[in-house]
């Protein structure tokens, strides 16, 4: 086939961990569009690129699947798109089936299943560098002949590692095969025959993997290493992000002062300075920490360690009524509970799924990070512990650990209440260890930064403007002596709420911040910044960073109580809405709201009263 003016539509299809997304990133670079398939919350990734001959190719990165017998919405999308029956999507001109060359025993079965569809198809043997390193010899010519489709070798993580695939896309598209109707048991026999004929494999597993797994999957040592990895991650988030964060904060404050100086005295200047720069700017400062946290999570995911962590945690999670299968949804909840709750669709047992949904909001989502960071910076001294550790990082780790332990505890109580003694089986593919690729990490971080910036310029901006309005109007009556905010709507609401929250040490400013925090937790920080900026008597005070202001205004007991509140609080309406949608039950959404609120209030009450008594 020569270069044509028409666009070639291809779909990348393959099992999880075959390097499909790395191949997609390598082919498309930054020319990617991420959205959802119509009517479902399954991510749709599309990209464009040109072949060396100038042919334009539109590529879809399909969700990973092990089989066309779908067990989850993701797999159903892949199945329907490959069959050409997905509403709103055209059948791809070519299926590019990606397999892990080091794990053909598992992946070839899916290739044979796809071949039965009779679509034009090429097979990409990815991770060929690893296969060669392990001494795996693949007779691609023979494999090509037996499968009746072109077989191409790639190393998606290397520059130039996809040249063979690009050249193949410039060639004549392979003819569609005949639609086959073979039994599933025949597929296993065919895979065995193909492996016997075309593949020479010295060992079924990689020696390096085996050596690392001996330590990392050890029932005791493995858990200790996992705890150390998590601990170091939170230490680094606090220690490494601080200089960039200070730079960010200083820049935003200077810009705010400059813009404020250009504007005339009056409500517009107050909106820009007290609302936008104090509120939004305070949230923006936490971008470096969020990105650093995600850099660690992405690196662990890329390295192949995360599925091993799921395997390691299966036993302790089983004791609390969950399984290792709940690990990935719960880990996703560290980003946001919503994708975490949606990821529970891969859990087949309805009871396990419900338990995971109910405890997912206890995992510390990234929206809580700004609140934790603010309070820790203000109240926990920056000092070394044992000469190595950072005390602030230790507290951050403890807060994350508190969320995890509470989730396991809540799951255990749910298990007791439902009297469930059923057996739980975990089947998991453990991919080979790999060095994370900078390019893939950069693309992943760019996605996270875009999500954060979309939130800042979307819901957080809207809430900050409205909170500024509620904190500014109505203005104080003539002859009023107190701070202007006391007479505003927000001030009045805060004072009304105080009697209920006084036993847990919350001030009226905190009470105000709790309300917009219902829509997005990090808005609580923006709200506090706006409230303190408006409450300030002079411009100098208004320009101060929030951290020293609250350090001077709150007691340590109040700060600890608020930290504990945020470990448990059901302060996210969207999470509650998603629980309702996923369980199709207002009752379950109500139970989640009530138990989280009760837990938050009780834990904050105990924390505050204990801290006051010890003072």
């Amino acid at each position: 086939m020569t270069a044509e003016s028409t666009t070639l539509n291809i779909a990348l299809v393959g099992s999880p961990n075959c390097g499909k997304t790395a191949l997609f990133n390598r082919l498309t670079g930054s020319r990617q569009k991420v959205a959802n398939y119509a009517g479902v919350t399954v991510e749709r990734k599309e990209g464009l690129f040109n072949t060396p001959a100038g042919r334009r190719v539109r590529v879809l990165d399909l969700p990973g699947a092990y089989s066309l017998d779908a067990n989850s919405p993701d797999e159903a999308i892949t199945r329907d798109l490959c069959r050409g029956t997905l509403a709103g999507e055209t059948r791809p001109d070519l299926l590019v089936c990606v397999v892990d060359a080091t794990n053909l025993r598992l992946h070839l079965r899916f290739v044979l299943e796809l071949r039965r569809l009779g679509q034009p198809m090429v097979l990409v043997l990815n991770l060929m560098d690893q296969a060669k390193r392990r001494g795996i010899l693949i007779d691609t010519a023979l494999l090509q002949q037996r499968l009746g489709m072109p077989v191409i070798e790639t190393v998606a993580i290397k520059s130039g590692g996809t040249q063979a695939l690009l050249a193949a896309l410039d060639e004549e598209a392979p003819a569609p095969g005949a639609v086959e109707d073979t039994d599933d048991s025949d597929l296993h026999a065919q895979v065995s025959a193909l492996l016997a004929e075309a593949v020479t494999m010295p060992d079924r597993t990689d020696r390096l993997d085996d050596r690392l797994d001996r330590w990392l999957l050890h029932p005791v040592l493995g858990l200790v290493i996992l705890a150390v990895v998590m601990f170091l991650m939170f230490q680094a988030v606090f220690a490494w992000a601080a200089p960039v964060q200070n730079l960010f904060g200083g820049g935003i404050a200077a810009l705010g002062a400059q813009v404020g100086a250009w504007l005339p005295e009056g409500p517009v200047r107050s909106l820009v300075q007290d609302g936008l720069f104090s509120g939004l700017g305070t949230v923006m400062e936490f971008l470096p920490q969020i990105l650093l946290l995600f850099a660690f999570i992405l690196a662990l995911e890329e390295s192949g360690y995360l599925p091993r962590a799921a395997f390691l945690l299966d036993r302790p999670m089983r004791a609390s009524g969950l399984t290792g299968r709940s690990f990935i949804p719960l880990l996703s909840s560290f980003a946001c509970a919503i994708p975490g709750i949606m990821a529970t669709r891969s859990i087949q047992g309805p009871r396990d799924r419900l338990t995971t949904i109910l405890v997912a909001p206890l995992m510390t989502c990234s929206a809580r990070l700004p609140v934790y960071t603010l309070l820790i910076s203000a109240f926990i001294p920056r000092q070394e512990v044992l000469g190595v550790f950072n005390l602030q990082g230790l507290v951050m780790f403890a807060l994350y650990a508190a969320g995890i332990v509470s989730a396991l505890g809540a799951a255990w109580v749910i298990k007791l209440l439902r009297r469930d003694d059923g057996e739980h089986v975990l089947l998991l593919e453990l991919p080979s260890y790999r060095l994370p690729q900078l390019r893939d990490l950069a693309i992943g971080l760019w996605e996270r930064a875009s999500i954060f910036l979309r939130r800042v310029t979307g819901i957080i901006l809207s809430l900050t403007v409205l909170l500024w309005f509620l904190s500014t109007y109505p203005g104080p009556p003539e002859g009023a002596v107190g701070p202007a905010i006391d007479y505003s709507l927000a001030g009045r609401i805060g004072h009304w709420m105080v009697p209920f929250f006084a036993p847990i040490g919350f001030t009226w400013q905190i009470c105000i911040a709790l309300i917009p925090g219902l829509a997005a937790r990090e808005v609580a920080v923006a709200a506090l910044a706006t409230v303190y900026a408006i409450s300030a008597s002079g411009d100098d005070a208004a320009a101060q960073a929030l951290s020293p202001l609250i350090a001077a205004d709150w007691s340590v007991a109040t700060a600890l109580s608020l930290l504990v509140w945020y470990v448990y609080a059901p302060q996210c309406l969207s999470t509650i809405a998603v629980i309702k949608r996923e369980t199709n039950s207002w009752k379950q959404a109500g139970i989640a709201t009530f138990y989280l609120f009760a837990l938050a209030y009780l834990a904050s009450f105990i924390t505050y009263q204990t801290a006051v008594a010890w003072r």
């Binding site: 901006l461 403007v465 409205l466 309005f469 969207s574």
Partner: protein, 79 residues
């Protein structure tokens, strides 16, 4: 900048923020309210400029998926 102009500017920004928030948190309700307003403005007997305003306000035919207007932005379901 006069006090009146500042007031109008602030009212515009606050109104825009309120509508944006409604659309994100309550997409179906916001869609219905916008549709009702546009139909009311386009009713027979209204002045031409009001009808034009109603037409401009008419929302797109499909409301955002229910319960996805969370503002979470993490799963991109609210796009």
């Amino acid at each position: 900048m006069s006090a009146l102009l500042q007031g109008l500017l602030v009212a515009g920004v606050v109104g825009f923020a309120a509508v944006s928030l409604l659309r994100q948190l309550w997409p179906r309700g916001a869609w219905q309210a916008q549709a009702r307003l546009s139909y009311a403005l386009e009713r027979e007997g209204r002045p031409a400029w009001l009808k034009r305003l109603g037409l401009a306000l008419r929302p797109p035919m499909q409301a955002t998926q229910a319960a996805c207007g969370s503002g979470c932005s993490s799963c991109k379901a609210c796009k």
